[in-house]
Amino acid sequence: MSLRDVILIPKEFPQDETVRVAAACVADGDAVAAGQTVLELEFSKAALELPSPSAGFVRLLCAEGDDVPVGAAAAEIHDSRESALARPAPAAAARPGSGAQPFLSAKAEELVLRRGLDTGPLAHLGLVRSADLVPAEPAPAAPIPAAPSTAGDGEPLPRAKLAEIAALAAGQNALASGVEALVRLPGPADQAALGGLRSLFTPRLLTLLCGLLKRFPALNGFYADGAAHFHPAVNLGYALDMDLGLRVAALGDLDGASPEAARDAVMDKIRRYMRGRLAPADLQGVTFTVSDLSGEGVDSFIPLIGADQSAILGVCSPDESGRARLVLRFDHRMLEGRAAARFLNALKTALEAQST
């Protein structure tokens, strides 16, 4: 049996334990190219396509309509058609304890511990390597031929956009309000000479934000079912919107980090985003989002609060005097305007205190 790859069900959303197989796009024994869609999966919040990580011949391990656990193997990629179509070798049948506890390599074990993964779905693999846990380079969700729209006129949107809409909509039950302040952004004095690169000069903004959020937990939580929920830690989200779809990259807690480290964290995500290599892990668990449009020449804009969050900070372009508008949108169910204003002023004060 010449197995080349195993495709696992990815964990796209923390709350999903299982995923429904909406459609199988290939049949057993079919030749597939790297990146080609093998299955369409329905997650709780979005429909996504599952691509093959490598070229080869596919063998499906699940069928349309199946509910498959996250982390389980959905398909195999084989070296040859014969191998993909072959019945399991006697070796596999003869293997006692195929229901046995999986045996993990040291790296895989570390990953399991770090991510709190359940090893149950891995049992069928038997011997588990770290690569079995990290889906290899999932392609960003690609647009598929649109299904006919169910009602009315208008051009149907691609699935990816629909998923984006769903994600944004999730945060929009808020009683959203906003406060704004003009801030002199830190950075070299001669901003004109730097053209539109100001967006790369906000590392200090990010580190200060993370520190402040700890003093204003209402801005680092969310409202649900009549209760205020506070995230146990800060995980700063940085909105990336560079014509490859809107993604909010999770930077973690940058409180106390050097500006260089913060900058590197952002640049790392930007690189991954631009190469289409953002993994679910890069997007999960954001508690507060920064949307930086300072390079776009906007005086003001209204950002949308994200799911499981209570606020978002928008950064606008600096004016001729070198001051830029910061827009804080917040969920009034979590805090009042005065508290939001205090937060924004504290941020402005900290930023301006260190400007050159």
């Binding site: 197995l3 070796a91 596999a92 003869a94 390599s105 690569a131």
Partner: protein, 654 residues
Amino acid sequence: MTASPVRTKPPADLWLRALFIRRLEERLFALYAEGRLHGTMHACIGQEFSALAVCGQLEPGDAVFASHRCHGHYLARTGDAAGLIAELLGRRGGVCGGVGGSQHLCRDGFFSNGIQGGIAPVCAGLAWARKLSGGPGIGVALLGDGTLGQGVVYETANIAARQALPLLLVVEDNGWAQSTARELTLAGDIATRFDSFGLTRFSGATADPEALWAAAAEAIAHVRGRRGPAVLFIATDRLCPHSKSDDCRAPGLVAEIAARDPLSRALAEHPERFAAAEAEIAARLDALVAAALAQEPLSLAEYAGPAPEPPRPAWTPARRDFEGTYAARLNAALGELMAARHEMLLLGEDLRSPYGGAFKIAAGLSDRWPERVPAMPISEAAIVGVAGGLALAGLRPVAEIMFGDFITLGLDQLLNHAAKFRRMYNHQARCPLILRTPMGGGRGYGPTHSQTLDKLLLGLDGVRVTAANLLLDPLELYGALLEQDDPAVVIEHKNDYARRAAFAAQPFLRHFAFERSGRGWPTLRLTPRAPDVALVTYGGCLTPVLEAAQELFREHEILAEIVLVSCLRPLPWPEILEALGARRVFTVEEGSAAGGFGSEILAGLAESGRDFRLLRRIAALPLPIPAAPALERLVLPNARSITQAVCEALHVPA
């Protein structure tokens, strides 16, 4: 001329028989001079009466083992002049189809071999078989004075005396060993040297053929009457060159010898007694030579026999767990086989109770079968030789060499005797002897008690070399070896003796399929899903290989399948190739790499035509194995070094 009953007076036609032998030898010289006889020969001209006195007085059930100067012995014993002449002329009608030639004859209990001295313990084994059978047969070994330089002769005398074997050693002392006068090389009084072993001494001389006949009769009767082994010294003269023309003795000396030769004198003094016989003999020889020359030589197909069928792989699940330590399992297996097979013996040093062998493998066995588990002295050459003789006689000896390092002492018996008997005697003999020996280091026993010398055995044609391992039931291995007819070696690993096979419970191995193919000495494959590399090994290396496989996966995410071979020679190629899934193959052995197991495997893989991406041997360093444990660990392969070697080859940081 058939063997006559023992009596002290020689038959009336003794001199004519001697004349026949002489004329035949002379005819062979002539054929050589004519270019019709190729190869070499060692004529017995001048010693005919010796051959007749001994070999002319034996029973059909007796065994004779001669060495290179064996024509007279053969003729006296079998009367088969036709076969002898055809053999020397290389024809299919020869005694051994032309395969053996002058020095390697075999027929009806008569054997000869061209290795000086080595024939002695084999003959002792033949004698021992006759003792065990309870019959009246004896073994007669024909040696020269030169043979008394060979150590194994004394090992044989010792064993023969200790075990009271019906063995008669005959020393034909013509004062010359090839070109060397006896006085130059042999010290002391050769006639008395066997006295110290307790062999009864008899003597005679071809100068007095009648007295010699009587002395031989006495010696034969002594041995046949089970009054102990004996030595018969026969003073004689070699009239002819050592072989064809290499006689550098002084011409005067040769003339003296000729002058006192009884047959020459009789021919000179009473030619009329021989005239009729001469004509008859000449005519007979003419006919025999013509008949032989008319024959075709043996074909290669007849000689080689059908090529053995390579095993057809058929994979079935293999057992993972066995009860008890390997030593206990082996001991039980030997006991079961000894009980079932009365022709089975165990020969070795220190096997007797209460010791039961250096590794306790034979514990308790000599209590149950004292005759079949005899005490053997520290004589590896003779142990192997005696076992070879027992096997020739149809018994099933299993000889233990206490440490594999000592196998070199018995290699001549294995290579030049046991491994050759069947083919060089043209399938007229079988020698199913089994040698078992523990090899391997790791206990700090030092350079001469720790070696893995499979490489010395892998090159022996005609020997099946197997290796025991924890996953192979010793009852199956030895049971199968005892059913086949060729010499075999079982390499065990001394570290396996105390180990238990308990693989079912190991969490890592539960994800491996354990399968086997073949009976007796099966090939095993332990396969996980989609392995990256293959580790091919045998025997005691299984344990460090399994440890390395686990470390490779745990620390480096490299997954190895394991192929475990039980038959090292001949290698079961169809099974090995089928077992191998990965394209990167490492062999693991405890011997050094040069000329060993790994080399053979790699050669076969290279010849297979399959596209392997990587082939590497992992082996010990080519240094004597140190006793100091820290050094020994670095010289011999272990789980860590195996892992490192694989990582290095795959360019993975180790």
